[in-house]
């Protein structure tokens, strides 16, 4: 724990970590210091002047957002002097802000409204002004209304900090306006529609485009969960009303580098009620899929699986919950009695790399290393990792990128190395050992004849040896080589493309038997596909079962289709890419007759005369406990994982994209020349 200092805020004694600013320290004491432009985690800019406070012993008031606590400080946040300035600023802001709180979507969570209430300002005592700038509502995702803008600059700063850099100010003073480059509509800029600006806006100037009349904050029920659409498994905060999802916001704690979700996470939820959503089981009758009952469907599938036994195979996505994975594992092994179970994980990585990954905290790392990895917010390939790392870099950490080709991530890098990745890593290891770092004998032997060819490598080695907390993110292909560096210093994490790649690996799903590729190219008699697998053409198999939330190309060619729940509809856990256990509550009731994967397997087992229990919390904990164990391996690239991450993520999320507003985004993106 860092050193703490004692301060007194409005008479309340509080102990705050050294280096905390006064706004955060006051929050610890339960005192709210008004502010509009401050954003936790970022440096205060002192524009709004609402956070002025008086510190005893200082002549003039100081801004709390950019003043750090000092031992023994006595702070008064509500003196007449500073309250007058606050009232003045709010009064002025009200003079250029629409006074339509009664119909405003942000009512209840609007900071301006809150402060106007506090200062008893029914309306402004100043002259009415209006910006008159047009609304940007040309896209179905984010609406910008400059009339409401209070020019706090939060949106501009979050956009800059995460590296997207789309928004900026144009003009000065009250005539300034938040614009994209050349004041174009958002879709003609480089905007990724992540909506971080929407989360940052304290008023009604930036909003989800569809929020009008979809309820206001006090009508919502809010639950924290995780997004399962890609390997980042971001924290989300889901707002529901009348059992329906109204919006999703980034859910990581205030001030965390990880407070980010991409457009998929924020807007993909439309697909829950999408047209292609499966609501009942379907079976093939006279060559056509027809609705049937669960009872009937389970009977057919159960009989087929019983017949096939060891000739049946299961392919699943790695975006399923731990509970689902465990039940599937048990079902295949003990009920169907087949070894052939595998997941899409085997397309981009090996389970061993995920099992041996460390746990890490990006907020603590001061040197982040990408090995063979090119996260990109623009391509939506691990976008949250990209954003979090860029934020961390903006807040003082360093980034080292080691890749075969140049990538956009290199733009934020302190050192960018391209070329033969294992060779580079070997040289770095050698340079580190030469610098006097302790290494196991076999590692020393492995780098014995390596050369340290360039200044760049020396510089990289210096970066690593000087850093306090090194966090290496590696693509599974280079995990072993990257782990050798972690054996010298730091932590290493294998970055999967699906949300629960790590959980699925720890549970041991797909450890033996035929591989995913073998099965989808016709290796089994009965093929059972779980979740949205990236296969369009029916594999050569006698009987095909597709268990998914949406009608897909593959499902249309299936013999039986079982409707499963989507994320947010069934409770469970995942192990995210950083090794954290994340609990996903059930946020909404399953649509139609859809059921969770685990539930379906349990019922199928019953149909087939066996019994599987849903794993308890304890069972899951035991199965997924961290057991990273690194050993020295050769500096080599593991072959066979060369799929395009972008295409893969788009393929496993096809139903989500096509069934939501995101379809507009994919169309808009295809129109804009790259």
């Amino acid at each position: 724990m860092a050193n703490t200092v004692k301060v007194r805020i409005d008479g309340k004694e509080v102990e705050a970590p050294a280096g905390t600013n006064l706004i955060d320290a006051a929050q610890l004491a339960g005192v709210h210091i008004p502010n509009l432009c401050y954003l936790k985690g970022m440096k205060g800019i002192g524009a709004c002047r609402l956070c002025l406070v008086e510190v005893e012993g200082l002549k003039a008031p100081v801004i709390a957002c950019n003043t750090k606590v000092k031992d023994g400080m006595v702070i008064n946040t509500k003196t007449e002097k500073v309250q007058d300035v606050r009232r003045f600023v709010i009064d002025l802001l009200l003079s250029m802000h629409p006074l339509d709180c009664m119909t405003c979507t942000k009512a209840g969570v609007c900071n301006l409204q809150k402060y106007a209430y506090e200062f008893e300002l029914k309306e402004s005592s100043f002259l009415r002004k209006k910006s008159g700038y047009p609304v940007d509502s040309a896209n179905p995702l984010i609406k910008r209304d400059p009339d409401y803008c209070v020019l706090c600059g939060r949106c501009v700063r979050v956009c800059k900090e995460q590296g997207t850099n789309v928004l900026d100010f144009m003009g000065r003073g009250i005539e300034s306006k938040v614009v994209t480059a050349n004041d174009k509509p958002l879709q003609e800029s480089e905007c990724t529609f992540c909506g971080s600006c929407v989360d940052a806006c304290p008023v009604n100037a930036l909003l989800e485009a569809d929020r009008w009349r979809k309820g206001r904050e006090w009508e919502y029920e809010r639950l924290n969960s995780s997004c399962l659409l890609c390997g980042n498994g971001c924290d989300i905060s889901v707002s529901t009303k009348d059992g329906e999802i109204q919006k999703i916001n980034a859910g990581a704690p205030e001030g965390s580098c990880e407070k980010y979700i991409c457009a998929y996470g924020r807007f993909g939820f439309d697909s829950v009620e999408g047209e292609a959503r499966l609501r009942t089981p379907l079976k093939r009758v006279d060559g056509k899929l027809a609705e049937t009952t669960w009872e009937d469907a389970l009977k057919i599938v159960g009989a087929r699986l019983k017949d096939a036994g060891g000739n049946a195979g299961f392919v699943s996505t790695a975006g399923i919950l731990n509970e689902d994975a465990m039940v599937l594992q048990a079902f295949a092994k003990h009920v169907v009695k087949t070894k052939d179970v595998d997941t899409t994980l085997s397309l981009y990585g090996d389970a061993a790399s995920f099992v041996n990954s460390h746990s890490g905290d990006i907020n603590m790392a001061d040197l982040i290393v990408f090995v063979g990895l090119a996260p990109s917010q623009w391509e939506r390939v691990l976008p949250a990792l990209d954003a979090a790392v860029r934020r961390r870099v903006a807040r003082g950490a360093k980034l080292l990128v080691i890749n075969e080709k140049d990538s956009r991530a290199a733009g934020a890098a302190t050192v960018n190395l391209t070329g033969d990745v294992p060779r580079i890593l070997r040289s770095i290891a050698k340079a580190l050992i030469t610098k006097g770092m302790k290494a196991a004998e076999d590692l020393e032997a492995a780098v014995k004849d390596a050369v340290v060819p360039s200044e760049e490598i020396e510089k990289t080695a210096a970066l690593i040896s000087e850093a306090n907390e090194v966090l290496i993110f590696s693509s599974p292909s280079f995990f072993n080589a990257a782990a050798n560096i972690a054996l010298l210093k730091g932590k290493v994490i294998s970055a999967g493309l699906e949300s629960n790649a790590r959980g699925v690996s720890l549970v041991g799903l797909g450890a033996e038997g035929k591989s995913y590729v073998e099965m989808v190219s016709g290796g089994v008699k009965v093929l059972y596909a779980v979740g949205e697998i990236p296969v369009g053409k029916r594999p050569n198999t006698d009987f095909l079962v597709v268990q998914n939330s949406h009608m897909t190309e593959l499902a249309q060619q299936a013999d039986v289709v079982l409707p499963s729940t989507m994320y947010l509809e069934s409770p469970g856990t995942i192990i995210d890419h950083m090794g954290r256990v994340k609990y996903l509550p059930q946020v909404i009731e399953p649509v139609g007759q859809s059921k969770g994967h685990a539930q379906i397997f349990i019922e199928l087992a019953r149909e087939m005369g066996s019994k599987i229990e849903r794993p308890t919390e304890e069972d899951v904990k035991k199965a997924t406990r961290e057991r990273a164990k690194l050993s020295v391996r050769s500096f080599e690239k593991k072959e066979g994982f060369d799929i395009s991450p972008k295409e893969f993520i788009e393929a496993v999320n096809k139903s989500v994209i096509d069934g939501s507003r995101l379809v507009w985004l994919s169309l808009a993106n295809s129109k804009v020349p790259a």
Binding site: A47, R49, K81, V89, S95, I174
Partner: protein, 203 residues
């Protein structure tokens, strides 16, 4: 509120603006000049009290010079508050100094400001308080004023010796911008500047 200072070259100093403003005689005009030049030039416009405060001050001062409809003591109170709070709350010295300037001007020339509210500019610089009119007794109908008026605010017909039914020269008050060009060209000194309310007050 960010953005670069758009004025090219060297930034103007507040002192210079103040000095330039003193070319005007009326304190309200001076303050207006100062605030407008400050907004155009040295203001960075990043902190709220300064950016929003000066914009409001400008509007209030404009009201004072133009004899706006519901002009009243509240306009002066607003200016006082802006000056004081800008001194307290602005981020930088420029903003604080501008606040101080507004405050100082108000306290040194309080009477002039008050007089504007009651409808008179003692220095006859605030156009809202002045009316121009043509004295028909003096007018010799040469038409020079009509020629020079860029706003078409003067009606009338040049006198022709053989006619006796003609329109006299008159100023259409609605169009008049009070630029004063007609006063300069009139050879007969027939265009009169009337500071109606001042006369009313002083008489």
């Amino acid at each position: 509120m960010s953005g670069d200072n758009v004025t090219s070259g060297k930034e103007r100093k507040l002192e210079d603006i103040k000095m330039e403003s003193e070319q005007k005689a009326c304190p309200v005009q001076r303050a207006l000049y100062y605030v407008e030049e400050f907004i155009k030039g040295p203001m960075c416009g990043k902190c709220f009290p300064c950016a929003l405060g000066t914009a409001e001050a400008r509007l209030r001062l404009l009201r004072l010079t133009k004899k706006a409809e519901d002009l009243g003591i509240q306009d002066i109170d607003a200016l006082k508050r802006i000056g004081l709070q800008m001194m307290q709350g602005s981020f930088c010295k420029k903003g604080k100094d501008t606040g101080r300037y507004i405050s100082d001007t108000l306290s040194s020339f309080g009477n002039d400001f008050l007089r504007h509210i009651s409808g008179a500019c003692s220095k006859e610089e605030c156009v809202g308080f002045v009316t121009y009119s043509i004295n028909p007794e003096l007018c010799d109908m040469c038409g020079k004023c009509k020629e020079v008026c860029s706003y078409g605010a003067i009606a009338g017909e040049k006198k022709k010796p053989y006619l006796n039914g003609y329109l006299p020269f008159e100023i259409r008050q609605k169009r008049c911008t009070k630029c004063g060009e007609c006063v300069i060209v009139c050879p007969a000194g027939a265009v009169e500047k009337i500071n109606a309310v001042k006369d009313l007050v002083t008489s």
